[in-house]
């Protein structure tokens, strides 16, 4: 290691030698940075799972444009819009097809007595183009009255039920006075959003949600003609449809604003953001403490080096060398433990927590920056190294 650093710096790796000389302190410092990394990774992981959950239902759908009520917060949390907008939209150039989307929460009592809620989507099963291929394959069977596809990750659902469904079996259950029969499964991965999800025909949806009317869906999905620009269709829709409680977005744009809403306007998002901030703060304080104590402990050596003719850049170099070493050595265990905890979290909660390469890179760069910042503050103490005090 020392040799590698000597080669890299073209000088003795004083920072490395100094840090590793007091092994106990080095281990504590690295553990501190690793812990700060762990905090940040966990918060970001859960925040990422929140984001993934929020937009997971979009993956079931296949559309270009979505019409929603303006007062809605997210795809699954919003009001209704008049179905007449769909007929108006169908008259706009570039719109190939449109279909209403109904969304509601069905209470469901598990066999052990706990009640969960199933987020249910109702679609026109005659239009498989509006769903992803995995779901589209089942759509014609959903035209049977009171059938549904059940989320295979539904919380509390016995694994045997899911396995049986996947093997071609059926599973009937009571909900709100109606009997529904699951005839297959789907994978959504929306752990934060609901205990589980269901896909059914709009007819079935309206039967199990008797208070909902076919004239007031939650959204209207639009597919555009091949080769036309989605933004130009949106501007034409904006011109053609009456304004007032209507939001017209691309599917991607809608997913993006759902994420923004969940991470900045909902307490959960804000709490996780705060957690990230705390993690960074902990890291900054630990590294600052270690580096400034280290500078203070070596003032005599630094003063000697000053007397020998070393200039300020040399000393800054040592402190930044130490900062970077702490960042790298702290990041590695922090990262590895985080990956382990992510896997544990997935196993225990089923939340879609995953280590993304971009997150790892971001946290590493953040760690480097934070350590360098702490180092920069710690270098202020260098001014105390006065060679005239040595004699």
């Amino acid at each position: 290691m020392s040799r590698l650093l000597t080669f890299l710096f073209g000088r003795l790796p004083i920072g490395w030698l100094q840090l590793t000389h007091s092994r106990g302190r080095f281990v504590a410092a690295v553990a501190g940075v690793a812990f700060a990394n762990l905090l940040v990774f966990m918060q970001l992981g859960i925040m990422g799972a929140l984001n993934t959950s929020t937009v997971a239902p979009y993956a079931m759908l296949n559309a270009d444009i979505i019409l929603s009520s303006e007062d809605g917060n997210t795809l699954t949390d919003g009001g209704h819009i008049p179905r007449v907008r769909m007929f108006q939209a169908l008259g706009v150039a570039g719109v190939r097809d449109a279909t209403p989307l109904f969304i509601g929460n069905l209470p469901f009592t598990l066999e052990d007595g706990t009640s969960v809620s199933l987020l249910s989507f109702g679609l026109n099963v005659a239009k498989p183009a509006f769903t992803n291929p995995g779901i589209a394959a089942h759509l014609d069977r959903l035209s049977l009255e009171s059938t549904a596809l059940l989320d295979e990750d539904t919380r509390g659902m016995p694994a045997s039920v899911i396995a049986d469904l996947q093997a071609g079996g059926q599973y009937s259950f009571e909900t709100g006075g109606n009997t529904l029969t699951a005839i297959g499964t789907m994978k959504v991965g929306g752990g934060f959003l609901a205990d589980g999800m269901m896909m059914m025909s709009d007819q079935t949806f309206l039967r199990v949600f008797p208070k909902r009317s076919s004239g007031a869906p939650n959204h209207i999905l639009i597919r555009t003609d091949d080769g036309v620009s989605v933004t130009s269709v949106i501007s034409r829709l904006e011109a053609a449809l009456p304004a007032g409680n209507l939001r017209i977005q691309t599917m991607a744009g809608s997913a993006q604003s759902d994420k923004a809403y969940m991470s900045t306007e909902r307490p959960t998002g804000i709490i996780f953001g705060f957690g990230v901030f705390m993690g960074i703060l902990v890291g900054l304080v630990i590294v600052y403490q270690v580096l400034s104590t280290d500078v203070a402990d070596h003032l005599r050596e630094y003063a000697t080096f000053k007397a020998m003719g070393f200039g300020q850049p040399f000393f800054l170099g040592i402190v930044f060398e130490e900062a970077i070493i702490l960042a790298v050595f702290g990041f590695i265990p922090g990262f590895l433990v985080s990956v382990g905890l992510y896997n544990a979290l997935v196993a225990v909660t089923g939340l879609p927590v995953a280590m993304e390469a971009s997150r790892a890179v971001l946290v590493f760069l953040g760690t480097l920056t934070a350590c360098s910042l702490s180092g920069a503050v710690a270098t202020r103490r260098l001014a105390n190294a006065d060679p005239a005090d040595l004699f």
Binding site: L12, R300, E301, M308, G309, G311, A388, L390, F391
Partner: protein
């Protein structure tokens, strides 16, 4: 090359300010010949260390003039100080070795201040001088595992390895027993002579006086005697 690498003219120095201001150095006039070994003596508080730090670019000159290696130090800036310090070798009362660096690495610092470069050659030079000082078998030890005399010899090696034109030492033997103190100064002298180094040593130690070319005695900040041997 100057005949006198160290010159002082009308040099005064003060500590503190206002009523607490005291004068530590009074009107010092001095010329030290190249290649000589000068010993600076005097009672405690007489200003020896202060004079040495003024000459050695470790303190700013307040009044009067010091010419070091042909450069005027009065009014010199930090950059000038830094570049002059690289041409000096300091030996302190405490060895001031870096505890995390081995003997060889500590000595290497004396070379790397001039820039890095051929690492193998620098290492060879460090090993060579450690060998001259009788430390060949200790060169990879950390200071914590060396005796006081050995540490001070490493400090001497660090000061001399880059062939400084001037070596300044402040009570280099104070922390050592008599024998190892004598050895250290002996080595300082013989290495200095071989290289034409100008050496100034502050000391109380009477046993090393006989090695000096010149003995200057300070009292209350003034030169009270100056004898050539």
């Amino acid at each position: 090359m100057q005949k006198s690498p160290i010159k002082a003219n009308g040099l005064n120095h003060y500590f503190g300010s206002g009523d607490a201001r005291i004068q530590a150095i009074f009107d010092i006039n001095l010329e030290i010949t190249r290649g000589s070994l000068t010993i600076l003596m005097g009672p405690s508080g007489s200003g020896k260390t202060t004079l040495l730090t003024l000459i050695g670019c470790l303190r700013e000159i307040q009044e009067g003039s010091v010419t070091l290696l042909g450069q005027e130090l009065f009014g010199a800036d930090e950059a000038m100080f830094v570049s002059l310090r690289r041409r000096l070798g300091f030996i302190f009362q405490a060895h001031n070795l870096h505890e995390s660096l081995t003997a060889t690495q500590n000595v290497l610092m004396g070379l790397q201040v001039h820039g890095t470069g051929d690492a193998a050659r620098q290492r060879a030079a460090a090993h060579h001088i450690l060998g001259l000082l009788g430390l060949a078998d200790r060169r990879d030890y950390l200071p914590g595992n060396l005796s006081g005399g050995q540490k001070q010899r490493v400090a001497v090696a660090r000061a001399l390895v880059s062939n400084p034109e001037i070596v300044l030492a402040d009570e280099p033997t104070a922390a050592l027993d008599k024998d190892s103190g004598h050895t250290v100064v002996q080595m300082l002298k013989s290495l200095g002579q071989a290289r034409g180094t100008t050496t100034v040593i502050v000391t109380h130690d009477p046993r090393i006086l006989e090695m000096a070319d010149r003995i200057i005695t300070l009292e209350d900040g003034r030169i009270v005697s100056d004898t050539l041997q």
